[in-house]
């Protein structure tokens, strides 16, 4: 698992060596607009859905960054842009000194080996016609990690074992497995190429409570064993709090707050973060009875036509006149704690 730690040259790309605690990936002013077109034959763009609108953050090697927000806030699109499954409209994504947004598909091949993804739905993310062993083995074949099939087979079975499944499961098909087992297969596939960085896109959201805890523990163990860095995209705040070192909160394509986990959950500053935290029920009736519940009014506006100024102002309990005009920048309130709201701090 150490091939990627050294400064490696892949084709004509020069990846810098990044040590534990140094910046592995740096996203700067990322924007992704999806055009909305009209007309059957002569299509013209009538609007843009601003899925991600100027997001910046960095992730250090060995760290887990949580990306939270409600549906449509752009958290998944951000992940897909990093994976280069979507090409960014604007902005840079610096991975070990290489700007991924400038690379061609061919140049991206060595990058794909180092950045992997675990998807939400363990039912649709595995090919139903392939055996589990082939699902996990295929990336190794494509990237020529292990040339001989016997070696690949052995590694596949080892990976299954690492992910808490019997080695014999290599011979099974996905439909013979439960949701939790399939998700373990998805994790084994992501590990097959010795990646440095794994994007977990709602990786535990579809699982039942008891199974979810198993997979969370597995992700934690793997992080330690293989020195992984995660971007953990999720809407469940209690899971994010449990797994992540730092957390970024997104709302309607913008980042509204970014801080260490402890700081964000104990001392949230942005009114949206506060409302989000207050909306999560705690599994304890006595605690619940004493908590103040701040229920946020209204709904998330359309990203096609976001409100002017601060995108959160129509639902914000502390909005003032200037919020309707000026877009608040993300400023560092205390060291490491970034907030995009001029009314706090």
């Amino acid at each position: 698992m150490s091939s990627s730690a050294a400064a490696v040259q892949h084709g004509n790309l020069n990846f810098l060596e990044v040590k534990h605690g140094e910046t592995l990936i740096k996203v700067t002013d990322l924007k992704k607009y999806f055009p909305v077109t009209e007309g059957m034959v002569f299509q013209r763009v009538i609007a843009n859905v601003k899925a991600v609108d100027g997001v910046s953050f960095e992730i250090k090697r060995g760290e887990t960054l949580g990306l939270v927000g409600e549906s449509g806030c752009g958290k998944t699109t951000t992940g897909r842009c990093i994976l280069q499954l979507e090409r960014a409209t604007q902005g840079t994504i610096d991975f070990c000194g290489v700007d991924l947004t400038t690379l061609s598909e061919k140049e991206l091949v060595p990058v794909r080996q180092r950045i992997q993804v675990i998807f939400q739905d363990p039912y649709s993310s595995l090919n139903p016609r392939m055996k589990v062993g082939d699902i996990i083995g295929e990336p190794m074949m494509v990237h020529r990690i292990i040339a001989d099939s016997a070696g690949r087979d052995k590694r596949t079975r080892d990976l299954l074992n690492v992910c808490g499944l019997p080695r014999a499961f290599a011979e099974r098909y996905p439909h013979e497995m439960s949701g939790g087992q399939r998700q373990r297969v998805g994790i084994a596939r992501a590990l097959a190429l010795n990646p440095d960085f794994i994007i977990c896109d709602e990786a535990v959201s579809a699982l039942d409570v008891s199974i979810q805890a198993q997979v969370i523990n597995l992700l934690e163990d793997l992080r330690e064993e293989f020195h992984l860095t995660y971007l953990f995209i999720a809407h469940d705040l209690s899971v994010v709090r449990h797994l992540c070192n730092r957390v970024a909160v997104m709302y309607l394509g913008k980042m509204v707050e970014l801080a260490d986990s402890d700081e964000l959950f104990d001392n949230p500053q942005h009114p949206y973060t506060k409302a989000l935290l207050s909306a999560v029920p705690v599994p304890d009736p006595s605690v619940e009875a004493q908590r103040a519940h701040q229920v946020l009014q209204g709904e998330v506006p359309s990203p096609m036509n976001p409100p002017p100024g601060c995108v959160f102002h129509p639902r914000c309990p502390i909005a003032v006149d200037t919020c309707r005009k000026a877009i608040p920048p993300l400023v560092e309130l205390t060291p490491g704690h970034w907030v995009a709201c001029p009314e706090v701090g």
């Binding site: 409570v209 199974i211 198993q214 969370i216 209690s238 999560v280 029920p281 009736p285 605690v287």
Partner: protein, 335 residues
């Protein structure tokens, strides 16, 4: 006072190519007037099938309600004719489903869907029904209700559709609402809105609520009493306080240890339940939870423990329920 709803010995099974699935197996519980009862369990535990059985909404075939009584205001719903049960559905007992996207008819306007029910069950005229529909939409927090009546479900967001569903459920002054995962498909802040709305409206109007969910946090905030289901059976029953503070079934304890909690210090490892739920076509006579249970004894292999009384309001289906109290205390001291 008489119970509003009494479910006794309910068994619902499905015939599949793999064998008979015992989705609900000898389930007994009751609901008082105006109270909120939560049914908690993971997928496949039979919580939805149990609720659908109350209104006889199980597709037959492949499903079949084999045995049991469902007494609603003293009347056995399972003995009613097809015509008679239609007068109960939507009128005395109504439902709110999980998927607000699929549970409204996409080709009928919101107004028509709301008024149809009231004209049928309450015999209102079109004008009266329209007037009440506007009131109902206002009550569930929908702005410009007059205009909404002419809109179609695709004009509304998920949260708005769920509000319409709640208005629909309340439209005929039911005695009981069954909400099957009412907020699972919604975002957290919208989930909070909908749950607060349901709680306030059911309290104000004195409607009883059965809320089916897998979310232990939702249960803690909104339920008076809780039934925990596993593999088609109720394994523990008690008040919300008891279930969370003195659980007496290993599965309940396992569930509570599995969820990360926002109110506790970070950095504690979760204690998951090992293994996965059983195949419902291959259940034997023993306790269905025993392959995952830390406290299993020989007796668990042979006999399924009955749901037995622990104290006034709490019941547990575990042979070692009385020892679990000490076990829990030791666990708390250790942590």
């Amino acid at each position: 006072m008489a119970k509003l709803l009494e479910v006794k010995g309910l068994r619902t099974q499905f015939a599949t190519s793999e064998g008979t699935v015992k989705a609900v197996d000898d389930v007994t519980y009751d609901v008082d007037q105006g109270e909120t009862v939560a049914i908690v369990g993971e997928s496949g535990s039979g919580k939805s099938v149990g609720a659908l059985s109350i209104l006889r909404l199980i597709p037959d075939p492949p499903g079949k309600i084999l045995a049991g009584e469902i007494l609603f205001e003293g009347q056995d719903l399972l003995k009613l004719s097809a015509d008679e049960i239609r007068h109960v559905r939507g009128r005395k007992i109504s439902m709110v489903f999980q998927e607000p996207m699929t549970s409204l008819n996409p080709v009928l306007s919101i107004g028509l869907q709301l008024t149809e029910t009231m004209m049928l069950h309450l015999g209102l005229s079109q004008e009266q029904a329209d007037k009440r529909a506007v009131e109902l939409l206002g009550m569930v927090g929908i702005s410009e209700p007059q205009r909404r009546l002419k809109q179609y479900p695709h004009h509304l967001s998920g949260g708005m559709r769920q509000r319409v569903m709640i208005a629909l459920a309340l439209s005929c002054d039911p005695k009981l609402i069954i909400a099957d995962e009412p907020t699972t498909a919604l975002d957290v802040t919208i989930q909070a809105q909908i749950l607060e709305l349901m709680k306030n409206l059911t309290r104000e109007l004195g409607v009883a609520l059965i809320i089916i969910t897998h979310n232990l946090g939702v249960v803690a905030r909104y339920a008076d009493r809780v039934n925990v289901m596993y593999a088609g059976k109720i394994v523990e029953e008690g008040t919300a306080q008891q279930i969370y503070h003195q659980p007496r079934h290993p599965y309940t304890i396992g569930l509570l240890n599995s969820v990360p909690r926002m109110d506790l210090p970070r950095g504690q490892k979760l204690i998951p339940i090992e293994g996965s739920p059983p195949d419902l076509t291959r259940l034997d006579d023993g306790c269905s939870y025993r392959p995952r249970c830390k406290w299993r004894i020989d007796r668990c292999d042979k006999e399924f423990p009955p749901l037995a009384q622990v104290n006034d309001t709490q019941f547990s289906a575990c042979w070692r329920k009385d020892e679990l109290d000490n076990v829990l205390q030791k666990m708390r001291q250790a942590s």
